[in-house]
Amino acid sequence: MKKTVAIALILCAVFALFPVSSFAASDSVPLTGEVINVYNWGLYISDGTDGTLDVNAEFTRRTGIQVNYSTYEDNESLYTKLKTGGSSYDIIIPSDYMIAKLIEEDMLEKLNFENIPNYKYIDESFKNTDYDPTNEYSVPYTWGTVGIIYNTKYVDPIDSWSALWDERYSDKILMFGNSRDAFAISAFLLGLSINSTDEGEIRQMADKLAEQKPFVQQYVMDQSYSQMINEEAWLVPYYAGDYLVMAEENPDLAFCHPKEGFNVFIDAICIPKSAQNKSAAEKYINFLCDPEISGGNMDAIGYSTPISEAKQYMDPETASSAIAYPDEETLERAVSFTNLPTETIRQMNSLWTSIKSGNGLPWYLFVIVGVAIAAAAIFIVIRKKKRNSY
């Protein structure tokens, strides 16, 4: 027994002598049995494919805390999941306007920043934001812009959202699957505010979207990856970060920040009220803010980091990309979302449901079928009665 301990100690000493790179698998902390549930956007973390950094595995290795990772499609799905209840999450990463809404509805925990020393790396411009003015609830994860990704093989160079209404590309246009992003595009095109609360204006936006529907192939989110890469679709409004990843697979893809303006967003890490392991969650937040981790992570997902120091750990090409980090002049056109009143959101959602729901069949077809069924039924009943009367 003593011998094995001694050998183990010697081995440890030997390993300690060599400066082990922090990504190596050797010096892992034993599992503590703690588990956190992380709920994040789809394709929004570096997961170790193709030799990239595996963020969650690295976190487990360093802290011994295991990560239960699951994904959602958009802010609205996240909100629905939290609101429905029944599931507990320790980490969520909503966008700005959704964070404001969650704070307003008292669904977020205040963070204990003593556990998050790496918060100091966050650039000043990402602090004291509109959505979290007191910096109590959230720590920025990424930021980014929305634009049009298109395939240059089939689509002429574009600079306007109106390309998504272009009949020539009918059935090759993908559209946002969530209401807020979709309505924003419509608002830009109509020259309205993307944060409008005016009922009439919202209706106008919905009408514009309904106009677009005949040309839309599908309303999707991350499904656009495969559709765009294998050229099943030619145009999609999506996030700049995802463009960088898609373009690696299909070099014919191009990106544009439309002239009418576009949305700029910050996605930040929060702890919802349903969390069961707050201190472990804070460790996770701290870990994500480590410049080295953030750099490796952003390299893989293509989004922009709010930590300037992280850029030194990134592929220089990504770190200087004009699409991930647009110049001042472009950013002047950028507008961010604010939280809307519940009534407006409800109106938007119900209009959105109507737009997305099928065209349906003409009424008379329904009536004809009904009559036919009834006739058949009566016929059978009569025949049965006749037969019984023999």
Binding site: V35, T71, T84, G85, G86, S226
Partner: protein, 278 residues
């Protein structure tokens, strides 16, 4: 006409199997897209077997399917005896309720259970009610009717006098049950249980509404995957599962064939063909 029917049947089988073959072929392709076969590789399989996450999900699915089908089989069979002792009207009502999960659209079953679980969670002040237990309860609930509806007819066919004869000949009721009744209804239990197992293993819709972050099954995860580019190791997993199920079915087929032959010899006069159904 006969020839047409045959050709037609072959065509239908091709229709049924074309997508399956495509998925199997994709598991050997070095490309990532389903529609492009690029080059032969076995690396998808090594990727699959080194992916603890996916194997864990498969294990989750198997655990839920196995426990729920076994519990449903035992619970359902016991209940069948009870139901049969009820009055005619009560029996009819119970059977109507039993049929509800069978005829209700799965999505409605799913959301109704989700509403219930969330409600219970709020009552008990549980933050994470969704998970293993809710999945298990949901699966047992939709598995029970399969068992009941396949055990009940067997029980109705059962000759009461045989049981009584066994009692007269000095068997204890328990012994009579295990020696006489159980063997008679066993095929019903097995076919109901197997049906339940396969239904549960591939259930997506109901699980989709009652899973929790800590415990997910494979089909639910595949659904969230299908919104993103699909990792090709899933095709390898599909192929492995396909072969496993094929194997199980072949074994069952052989067992059943033997069983049929025996019972045909026994019941030669009746000459009835037992239905092969799972």
């Amino acid at each position: 006409m006969k020839r047409f029917n045959r050709i037609f049947t072959v065509a239908v089988f091709i229709f049924l199997y074309a997508p399956i073959l495509l998925l199997v072929a994709a598991s050997f392709s070095s490309g990532t897209s389903l529609s492009n076969f690029e080059g032969f590789t076995l690396s998808r399989y090594s990727e699959l077997f080194s992916d603890k996450n996916m194997l864990g999900l498969l294990l989750n699915s198997l655990i839920v399917a196995l426990i729920s089908s076994v519990v449903a089989s035992v619970f359902g069979t016991v209940s069948c005896f009870g139901i049969r002792r009820l009055g005619r009207r009560a029996q009819k009502t119970v059977m109507t309720v039993t049929n509800i999960p069978m005829t209700n659209p799965e999505i409605v079953t799913g959301i109704s259970l989700a509403l219930l679980f969330v409600f219970i969670g709020q009552m008990l002040k549980l933050k994470d009610v969704m998970g293993f237990w809710t999945l298990l309860i949901a699966h047992i609930t939709f598995n029970l009717p399969y068992v009941i509806l396949s055990v009940m007819p067997k029980l109705n066919q059962l000759d009461r006098h045989v049981g009584e004869a066994a009692l007269d000949l000095g068997c204890t009721p328990i012994k009579a049950f295990f020696k006489v009744t159980l063997p008679e209804i066993l095929p019903g239990i097995i076919s109901g249980g197997l049906m339940a197992f396969t239904m549960s293993l591939d259930d997506f819709v109901i699980s989709y509404f009652v899973y929790g972050p800590a415990f997910t099954t494979l089909p639910v995860e595949i659904y969230t995957y299908t919104k993103k580019p699909l990792p090709p190791k899933l095709y390898a997993l599909f192929t492995v599962l396909f072969l496993a199920i094929l194997l199980v079915m072949i074994v069952m087929n052989i067992v059943q064939a033997r069983d049929d032959n025996r019972s045909r010899r026994n019941k030669n006069a009746k000459g009835e063909i037992t239905l092969t159904r799972i």
